[in-house]
Symmetry: C2
Subunit: 224 residues, 2 copies
């Protein structure tokens, strides 16, 4: 009888684990860590049908991981709590460190990652203080507005190729994006290096930065 209650307790906790135990839902969560979004935005960003995305989002909601708020005709989903971002970070960290399969998949998705220079937050700080380093946020503008690293300039990957000529030449360009499972910063860095400029990649995204105890900057709460 104690056993029944105990089983029930673990069953409840397992509900949360079941909510994240699906690749599509992890991808949705990864997007929501960057910024709140509507169902349609999430569906198109993750290549799901609207109905399918909606159902996955409701599963995440039932698991207490995200919150959906109706705003006129759309429903805007966001993380229920920063602890959810920590859970996602921790899961990713266990996955990449313990499963060789994940490392291999990551090498496929980000083939250049071993050839790029990487930079730590401390080195980045020092360079920005010296004034010889520029930090580029290459995520979509929507995500930049929801929160970005202090001093970062928003140059979404989409527009980089046309704006490349604008960039000065005597700087070290540090690119970052959603975090270690995102290839935007690699793509951007590739273009920057190809143009003859110097650059490095920061593996951390906004969530990892925040979890490491640093502040993030926010421009507008109504980012759309």
């Amino acid at each position: 009888m104690n056993r029944t209650i105990k089983s029930h307790l673990f069953q409840q906790v397992a509900q949360v684990a079941q909510a994240i135990a699906n690749p599509h839902r992890l991808e949705l969560l990864d997007l929501l860590v960057q910024s709140p979004r509507s169902v349609e935005q999430l569906a198109s960003a993750s290549a799901l049908s609207i109905a399918n995305a909606s159902q996955h989002l409701q599963r995440l909601k039932r698991g207490g991981l995200i919150i959906g708020e109706r705003q006129g005709t759309t429903v805007r989903y966001r993380l229920a709590d920063q602890a959810v971002a920590r859970l996602w970070t921790e899961l990713r960290s266990v996955a990449t460190s313990q499963l060789a399969e994940v490392e291999r998949a990551l090498d496929q998705y980000r083939p250049q990652r071993h050839s790029f220079a990487t930079i730590t937050p401390a080195e980045l700080w020092a360079g920005m203080a010296r004034g010889d380093t520029l930090l580029l946020d290459v995520r979509p503008a929507l995500e930049y507005h929801a929160g970005h690293l202090p001093g970062a300039v928003s140059i979404p990957l989409e527009g980089l190729s046309t704006r490349l000529a604008e960039l000065p030449t005597d700087f070290l360009f540090v690119t970052y994006c959603r975090g270690p499972l995102c290839a935007y910063a690699d793509d951007a860095l590739g273009q920057i290096l190809a143009s003859g400029r110097r650059g490095a990649r920061l593996e951390e995204g906004v969530a990892e930065w925040q979890q490491a105890g640093y502040q993030v900057e926010q421009l507008s709460l109504l980012a759309g």
Copy 2:
């Protein structure tokens, strides 16, 4: 085609989430956070058949969460990494803070938890330094040997009722066990308070203690 690779990456990470997305496997993990164990020990502690426990353990192993090592005729399973304990702690924390259902299940499993005094690590340190506080580890001896809080005395719940008379009367007794989802410390504290002694419960277990940056003590690596 980029999409295929990306999906594959998230699928790999989801494998780890799927490994913990089952109440029995969470219970096994919760046991393994306390100490390594054989299949038989795990099966009996979690009320599973041997074959079933073995299969769940192999699923956890495939997910990279635990490691099994043959030692003579038995196979001893242990956590693959401390990061796994962090993942479990983080999952539990999201579950308890975001799902009212979990709080309700916890109230059923630990009905006295709101009536007991709780104590923080800082208060505990102060009391132990003053010499008026005794810290009791009420988990099975096996788990105490695998690692325990510094200065804790091992009094497994099983033997407490017969040893209760031995305990001095002029101390504050602080009980702890596996962590917030464990009722051992509540049971023990109930007996201690009923005997007229003063006491409080420490919610943290060894894993949470360690994750908070404190040291743990270990007696023997061959604890059996």
